[in-house]
Amino acid sequence: VLLLVDDDEMILSSMQRLLRRTFPGMDVVVAPHGEAGLEHVRNGAVDLIVSDYRMPGINGVELLRACQDLAPSAVRILWTAYETPEVAAQARSVGATLVSKGLDPLDLVHAIRHAWQVVEA
């Protein structure tokens, strides 16, 4: 199960469709904010968590930090348009890979594929 957390509805919709098409065997669930994301993690087995950084309520780093306890084996990816050195350091502190919401959505796809291969290995 891949959990995508982002407060932008269009991003959730588009990326869910893109990820489902790219990874047909993967169950892609979405959450519109950090608290909803945490609920998903508490309620079921999530293998991979992709979270936006800036969201109302708890931010992506706080969400991923909480997931370190709730789902320690889940792979964590922080997908953000704010990849400053400070955010990069925060991502590292919660064991997350930082992926830029930059030029190409395939950057996220590549990061997920890489992380998935690591999990499967």
Partner: protein
């Protein structure tokens, strides 16, 4: 205005407005990224179904795709330039081979050079540096594209890496339109544009060389250009410190604090945003 420059309060006001304008442009570029992300995802999905569309619709998708790619690149450039100015560009340094990077950059542009009838050549010895490969690749690629656009068919573009006093010097030379001394001085400033007469590439918002300068300087290097004059080709170069052979790995990346946003009147900001994005100099008043 006296030759000594504006009074201190005026200088401080300008500095505040400059910082505010910078903060606004930075925030705007971030906000533009958000709708671009789903647009690019949808375009990727659409490209996968291109064969289902009639030829007219296929052409529409191709045009939209090209425009979207260009818009995304401009937003990234704007964002990178604001981060260079603030010193908050996230560099992911590691020990890397400049020779391999130079070859890859030139190979990537070889088809375009060939199509335009421009010869290319590479001279690059083994060169270990500690650097961010993606950012340095961006710098070399930008200099190569600049050279290609400035060079007429039948000309040549040369990429060289040379060892020089504790550094490696990367130089892109072309047989193109050249530069006047005045242009050579100003090209690395934000929004700098070559003169119409020189014919040198003026695509984009004039931030590529400014970004290149910032990236190189954040690596501890220097950047510059040289030309014998208009019509006589040009060489753009930069240096990177050699990797210390005894070093235990790349230097630690220290988080850089974000600059605080100064308070200023919104109408002044709006007025400034429609002006040239250039730091005001005391002598320009």
């Amino acid at each position: 205005m006296s030759a000594a420059g504006p009074p201190p309060d005026e200088a401080a006001r300008r500095r505040d407005l400059d910082e505010l304008r910078h903060a606004f442009v930075h925030a705007a570029a971030h906000e533009l990224r958000t709708p671009l992300a789903p647009m690019r995802a949808e375009m990727h999905l659409l490209r996968g179904r291109l064969a289902e569309l009639d030829p007219d619709a296929q052409e529409s998708v191709r045009v939209l795709d090209a425009c979207l790619t260009r818009l995304s690149a401009l937003v990234e450039l704007l964002l990178d330039a604001t981060m260079v100015k603030a010193g908050t560009l996230d560099l992911r340094k590691r020990e890397m081979d400049l020779q391999l990077l130079a070859r890859t950059c030139l190979d990537d542009l070889a088809p375009e050079a060939q199509a335009r009838g421009i010869r290319t050549s590479l001279h690059a010895p083994a060169a270990r540096v500690v650097a961010d490969p993606q950012r340095i690749s961006q710098v070399i690629d930008g200099l190569l594209r600049n050279a290609l656009h400035a060079t007429p068919p039948g000309g040549h573009v040369r990429l060289r890496v040379d060892e020089e006093e504790g550094t490696f010097r990367v130089a892109v030379g072309d047989s193109g339109v050249g530069l006047s001394p005045r242009e050579a001085e100003s090209l690395f400033q934000p929004m700098a544009r070559p003169s119409e007469a020189s014919g040198r590439a003026a695509a984009g918002p004039g931030l590529s060389l400014y970004l290149a300068k910032g990236v190189v300087e954040m690596h501890g290097g220097r950047i510059g250009c040289w030309s014998e004059g208009p019509g006589k080709g040009a060489t753009f170069w930069f240096t990177l410190p050699k990797a210390a052979t005894s070093a235990g790995g790349p230097p630690a990346e220290e988080p850089t604090p974000q600059p605080s946003r100064p308070a200023a009147a919104a109408d002044e900001l709006r007025a400034l945003l429609f002006g040239a994005w250039r730091r005001p100099t005391p002598s320009s008043a």
